[in-house]
């Protein structure tokens, strides 16, 4: 067809001419495409692409710069978490689920643990302090997750400074997570029956300081983006999806609330005692990327409000248990947070190894085999930063899940890419996908 070009080689296939783009070869590619008579170009974007939020592959059919068809290719991060969990005890499962949507680990763990507690029939036995800590951790996590959504979304549209601010705020949250659980991500902190361990000393005052700092810091991004004319041009009227479209596609979370429907499971079907907190459900009525951006920005303040109320409750619940009293379920190992991270509590080791054979046996059985969960199935949903995260858990009465399935909001919501992007410009796909806020770890599991 043309002379050999090492940077944009082309070959003929039954589908037409295929060009391989390797970078730095834009001019020769344009020249070659310009020489073909075909108006329609199919572009493969990703899975290794900086603007597709991880290993998402988009197959775009273009007429000039107009997108006529978009299809998503997923599965590049499939790790078989659901299958693996069938071979591990119920408690061990938390270390798997925390790695699904890695930006919202606390939500994965909470959905999973609430489902197990429902199966065990101990929902009401979970200590109040544990539920309050869960709520506080979830709202902190919502902030860190929204921060990545906002920061990377802005970065992908060419705004670099908002990402610096967003990741600065995320660091504050991750530092709190590290202080409480020993880990910044993938904490496996929420456990069936409660939480892994109580808050360390001085945590409440540190979190109060962090809330104050974040409330001040959030203004930086607000000042940069809200009403910014370049930002408005990139986001207003882009990625349109109305209520009918969102409903039939099963879309939840900020994308659904951007159609004006105040649907938030924290209000509608409360869990972990969310009915005892004072907060507003944020909506927008623009059905576009800008509306979703505003919702996330305003949800930050609502999360801060919930955290403050949770801190007040925690002060009144000082010293209360954080794990169910049933010793057949509660993890026996009293862990302690050392200078080098989380480890065994020396006092507990001393007891089981030195003084009580029964404690040792109990510890051993519960850790190696785990507890039994009565047969049956439940579906437990929580409002994650991306939408409804549902855990469908089936037990056959054994010490391991018979079947685990997660209804991941990212997986479901990514289906809206076609509806949001077709008929628009190629550059707007990036804005639309970023407004869905998919996390591929959650999509593929």
């Amino acid at each position: 067809m043309t002379t050999f070009d090492p940077y944009a080689p082309s070959r003929e296939t039954t589908e037409g001419t295929v060009f391989s783009v390797t970078g730095g070869d834009w001019d020769s590619l344009v020249q070659e495409i310009g020489s073909t008579k075909e108006e329609r170009v199919v572009v493969n974007m990703g899975p290794q692409h900086p603007s597709t939020h991880g290993v998402l592959r988009l197959i775009l059919e273009l007429e000039g710069e107009t997108v006529t068809e978009v299809r998503c290719g997923i599965g590049y991060l499939h790790t078989g978490i659901e299958k693996n969990m069938e071979y591990r005890s119920w408690t061990q499962g938390t270390t798997f689920v925390t790695r699904m949507d890695y930006l919202g680990p606390i939500f994965n763990e909470t959905a999973y643990c609430l489902a197990i507690e429902k199966l065990l029939g101990i929902t009401n036995d979970v200590p109040e302090r544990a539920s309050v800590i869960r709520v506080m951790m979830m709202e902190l996590n919502r902030i860190s997750s929204h921060m990545v959504a906002l920061g990377t979304g802005a970065l992908e549209l060419g705004a670099i400074t908002p990402m610096f601010f967003a990741f600065r705020e995320r660091e504050i949250v991750l530092d709190i997570f590290e202080m409480i659980s020993g880990l910044r991500m993938n904490m496996a902190y929420i456990r069936p029956g409660g939480v892994q361990q109580d808050l360390p000393e001085g945590a409440i005052s540190k979190i109060r300081d962090a809330v104050k700092l974040m409330r001040k810091n959030f203004k930086d991004n607000t000042n940069l983006l809200v009403g910014n004319s370049i930002w408005l041009k990139r986001t207003q009227g882009i990625g349109y999806l109305d209520l009918a479209g969102a409903t039939t596609l099963g879309i939840t979370g900020p994308v659904l609330r951007s159609t004006g429907l105040p649907w938030d499971l924290r209000k509608m079907q409360p869990y972990c005692g969310y009915e005892n907190y004072d907060f507003d459900v944020v909506t927008a009525d623009t059905c576009d990327v800008y509306g979703r951006f505003l919702i996330r920005m305003n949800e930050l303040e609502q999360s801060l409000r919930i955290i403050e109320q949770a801190l007040d409750k925690l002060e009144n619940l000082d010293g209360a248990p954080v794990m169910v009293a049933d010793k057949k379920i509660a993890w026996p190992a009293q862990l302690a947070l050392g200078s080098d991270g989380l480890g065994n509590s020396l006092n507990h080791i001393r007891e089981i190894m030195g003084t009580s054979m029964e404690s040792l046996i109990h510890h051993f059985k519960l850790v190696t085999e785990g507890f039994h969960v009565p047969a049956g199935q439940v579906y437990q949903a929580v409002e994650s930063p991306k939408g409804e995260l549902g855990a469908h858990v089936v037990s056959d009465g054994g010490t391991r899940p018979y079947r685990m399935h997660f209804r991941e909001p990212s997986f479901n919501n990514l289906q809206a890419t076609s509806a949001m992007s077709e008929g628009g410009m190629i550059a707007d796909i990036i804005a639309a996908v970023a407004s869905i806020d998919p996390v591929m770890g959650g999509v593929d599991r």
């Binding site: 997923i74 099963g250 059985k365 519960l366 199935q377 079947r403 289906q415």
Partner: protein, 209 residues
């Protein structure tokens, strides 16, 4: 299963997943009225709106505060339309599969959690089919969002959703053999080749017996 001992130990007690522990499971029986909560009213409404109720619903199960309707697969689309249009279950939260290899004739189960935002209610539909005839009508025409969920369940369990607009694998590669989340599909049963050295699948690496 039969329990023995304080923790119900049986077999080798190995929970590492590679010791070949075998468990069996089948679904439980049916529930009696009153179901409690909004479930009685909901089932009454459905019976009124859908005259063929008794011929289409095999079982009504209320367990742990959740209502499950076992639907005959031929009637799934019909009843879904009634649930969506008359009872306002606007959203289907996808489909999840379960494999019960010992439940002869009903080995594969598809579970649909439905959500009514109008009435703030939840309900679950269940359809079971045999492995030999693993066909279930697709609900993509009723709830478009079920598209990817049905592809995933096909990919993982081999349930064929008839009339699906494009039933292909979604998480596994297109040329994959088998359906990984079936119970007879071994965990990690794929030999991995790494820099010339062949590493056996985890299930063959160590034995606790």
């Amino acid at each position: 299963m039969t329990d023995s001992g304080m923790f119900g130990t049986h077999g080798t007690g190995d929970t590492s997943g590679y010791g070949g522990l075998v468990r069996s499971a089948t679904s439980t029986g049916s529930s009696e009225r009153p179901y409690g909560g909004y479930f009685d009213g909901l089932v009454d409404d459905l019976e009124r709106a859908y005259p063929e109720f008794s011929a289409s619903i095999e079982r009504v199960i209320v367990d742990r505060g959740e209502l499950t309707l076992h639907v005959k697969r031929e009637k799934l689309v019909e009843i879904s339309l009634v649930l969506r249009d008359t009872l306002k279950f606007e959203m289907c939260m996808g489909v999840s599969g379960i494999h019960y290899p010992n439940n002869t004739g009903r080995e594969l189960v598809a579970v649909y959690p439905l959500l009514s935002m109008t009435n703030n209610r939840r309900i679950r539909l269940e359809v079971s089919v045999s492995e030999a005839d693993a066909h279930i009508p697709s609900l993509v025409e009723v709830w478009a969002g079920n598209n990817w969920h049905e592809r995933e369940t096909f990919d993982m369990f081999g349930i064929i959703f008839d009339a699906h607009p494009g039933l292909t694998r979604i998480l596994m590669p297109d040329d994959w053999q088998g359906h990984p989340q079936r119970k007879d599909y071994a965990l990690g049963g794929i030999a991995v080749e790494y820099k010339g050295a062949t590493i056996p699948p985890p299930s063959e690496r160590r034995s606790y017996s």
